[in-house]
Symmetry: C2
Subunit: 428 residues, 2 copies
């Protein structure tokens, strides 16, 4: 099936630092193959497994697992799969359906969003606590299988999760569709799980607005579940992305949906729950998002509807501090909320600048007039962390000081601005 070197040969090469990244499954580097191997070796969501990989690095972690020299707890997670190797087959299978493996070593790795999981797992106790099926440890993925043309980090940079019940009502689907449409029309990526009901309605609304949307799956990206959404997944892959932690061919086991949900929460700037029954999975997703520091938004509904009971429970939970949202404007108000760096949404830009924090002023000064640049570029120019830049950008945007061109950030053109010339559309 594969023309490349054996996995162990590739690992050997990688460990001595000989290889350079070349595209194509057969020529994948040892590091890439190690990551691919790890996605099949153990179920994601295990603290012990992630820590083992984090400690040794993926290449050495795989070598130790295959050599039987990993700790017992980690070896138990992998079992007989330690001696198997489907990496080249998996990579080839991904390539055939237009998918690829994205690893933390790649430029498009969504490091910022996943940072919340890295922070969260660091706070987990050394000895894993008893975990009920409902609680999934906040662990970063070792790699992501991604199907579609868009860059993973860019698509998720301004993204909102819209989730809810599969057994949704006509009301819920209508609202999810409107939200998906209006968020996409405002330049936000609508992220959901691709399920029937609310998920599907949100994806379709976004596609109807011509905006990108992403489905984070609990199975392989080559066989997205449910099959009845085949046409929808095809459109999502064409305009947006299908994303999964599991390798091609993986089946949508029940437990995987819960593991997947933590990824939806982490990758997005906030989660909107549209319809949820009492004590439902959508509620668990909302609480997970809150624990990851992501705002939770909830759409209310008729108190006579069983599919809104869970939503109202979330809104009544004072500890959760969920925001009631009735439309996309309310959602953008939350996910684009003024951060700790700015006091209030200022009425006039002239005054706005005076109230800016030190970092915000530096980011503003780093912003080009015409061509939009990435947050990473802004951070380099401003001399601060990317995370700081991303923290102040929403506030600067709300204050109408900077704008998103679709590909980057630039200063908002001022009417009569001296020597700014005509407004050029930001380049790629």
């Amino acid at each position: 099936m594969s023309a490349g070197p054996s996995l162990d040969e590739a690992l050997e090469e990688a460990s001595v630092g000989a290889s350079v990244t070349v595209s194509g499954p057969a020529t994948a580097t040892g590091l890439r193959r190690a990551r691919a191997w790890l996605t099949r070796a153990a179920e994601p969501g295990s603290v012990a497994f992630w820590r083992f990989v984090d400690e040794w690095g993926p290449v050495e972690a795989v070598r130790r697992l295959r050599a039987g020299s990993a700790p017992d707890a980690v070896r138990a997670l992998v079992g007989p799969r330690a001696q198997q190797d489907a990496t080249l087959a998996d990579l080839a299978r991904a390539q055939r359906c237009g998918a690829r493996l994205v690893t933390p070593e790649d430029d498009e790795w969504p490091a910022l969003g996943l940072h919340a999981l890295t922070v969260a797992v660091a706070e987990e106790p050394g000895q894993p606590r008893y975990q009920s099926p409902r609680t999934v440890a906040p662990v970063p993925p070792v790699a992501l299988w991604v199907r579609g043309a868009a860059r993973l980090d860019e698509l998720f940079d301004r993204s909102v999760a819209v989730v809810g019940a599969r057994a949704s009502s006509a009301y819920g689907e209508h609202v999810a569709g409107e939200l998906g449409h209006d968020l996409a029309a405002r330049g936000w990526t609508v992220v959901s799980g691709g399920a029937y009901g609310i998920d599907g309605a949100a994806h379709r609304g976004a596609l109807a607005a011509g905006g990108p949307t992403a489905a984070v799956l609990a199975c392989g990206v080559d066989r997205p579940y449910p099959e009845g959404h085949g046409a929808l997944f095809h459109r999502i892959a064409a305009d947006g992305l299908l994303v999964s932690e599991w390798p091609p061919g993986a089946a949508p086991h029940r437990h995987r949906f819960l593991v997947r949900n933590r990824l939806i929460a982490a990758l997005t700037r906030g989660t909107v729950v549209v319809e949820a029954a009492a004590r439902s999975g959508a509620q668990a997703t909302a609480r997970r998002a809150e624990r990851l520091g992501r705002p939770v938004m909830v759409v209310p509904g008729p108190v006579t509807s069983a599919m809104s009971v869970g939503c109202h429970e979330l809104l009544r939970d004072e500890a959760l501090r969920a925001a009631l949202v009735a439309d996309a404007a309310h959602v953008v108000e939350v996910v684009g909320r003024i951060g700790a760096d700015l006091a209030d949404p200022p009425a006039r830009p002239q005054q706005a600048r005076d109230s800016l924090s030190d970092v915000a002023v530096r980011v503003l000064d780093a912003c080009p007039v015409r061509r939009g640049v990435s947050a990473e570029r802004l951070a380099a120019t401003a001399g601060c962390e990317v995370v700081e830049v991303l923290r102040v950008l929403p506030a600067l945007e709300l204050a109408d000081l900077v704008q998103w061109t679709g590909t980057g950030w630039r200063l908002t053109p001022r009417p009569g601005g001296a020597g700014d010339g005509p407004e050029g559309a930001g380049g790629g």
Copy 2:
């Protein structure tokens, strides 16, 4: 029309302390006639007028107004009405429709609820601020015209306002009716404004449960508005109360509804808004209730319904701290909420007593075993203020330590309690 002494003679008598209260319009005391006169002399809701009456007492206030020796600002409010006297006619007219004047001097005066207005007016500035038509000063009424057999204070002791839009939807009316029914079934008096839409549905729901309900009107209790609710008002007067600050015959002028709304907020333990359009009167009522220290509760609805937009605005207003309620149990949870005197709703009564505050223990000790007694009696026995008793009673009730017999408070009978004898129904 009247056989009694002239108003001025009656005031003269009252000012020398000669008279004793006797029932019947013609024999009304000077004090009672002074209160009746004041309800017709000026529109309620004026800080200056209320302070003048508070300073001089009603009898002397009326004498000064009639003699032209009141301050100009107050005289301007009364105008030529200073020389008119319809008190005996008003009292007779009230009597004919089964109504009476209730004054602060009467036992049934709802002093506790109105105390919030007394506190609020004390905080008003000496020079009245500019008041938009939407803002009404929080001023206590000088007296209340009441139609129906129930005691005013008892009916409002455990009461909840259920208010909302006149142009309500079928959904809103359904929910208001259910709430009215279920609150009445739990022993709470449902208070509203008697209007079409939500108000009417709430009243009807309470009546359907056989519970009392009260309509606080913006016109005379002998001609309740709207006329289309004639049969409903008749049933309310038969089982509950019609209440108004305006004398018999008063017309429902637009401004009076806003003035009336503060009374609904003050007289009840909390206000539930069922449906409200954007920037509507129901929102103003909710904000008024919050300023008077009354919890605001809001029923959500479909985000696609214009009649729920105002409700969602209220729930989105963080400063208001409105509680989302979906049913009567949620409402009772708020209005019967554990006060500052108790920590948590204790699971077992034995432990509950240990966590009681000093006042709560004294109130508990003052509670009789069989026959229910009033909060006033409890205060006298416990040696504390009535307001303190009323603050701890809900918590004691929630902890199942005391119970409301329908007419008074007593200890909750314990199974196997030593020497308590059979549980007697509380007397009148």
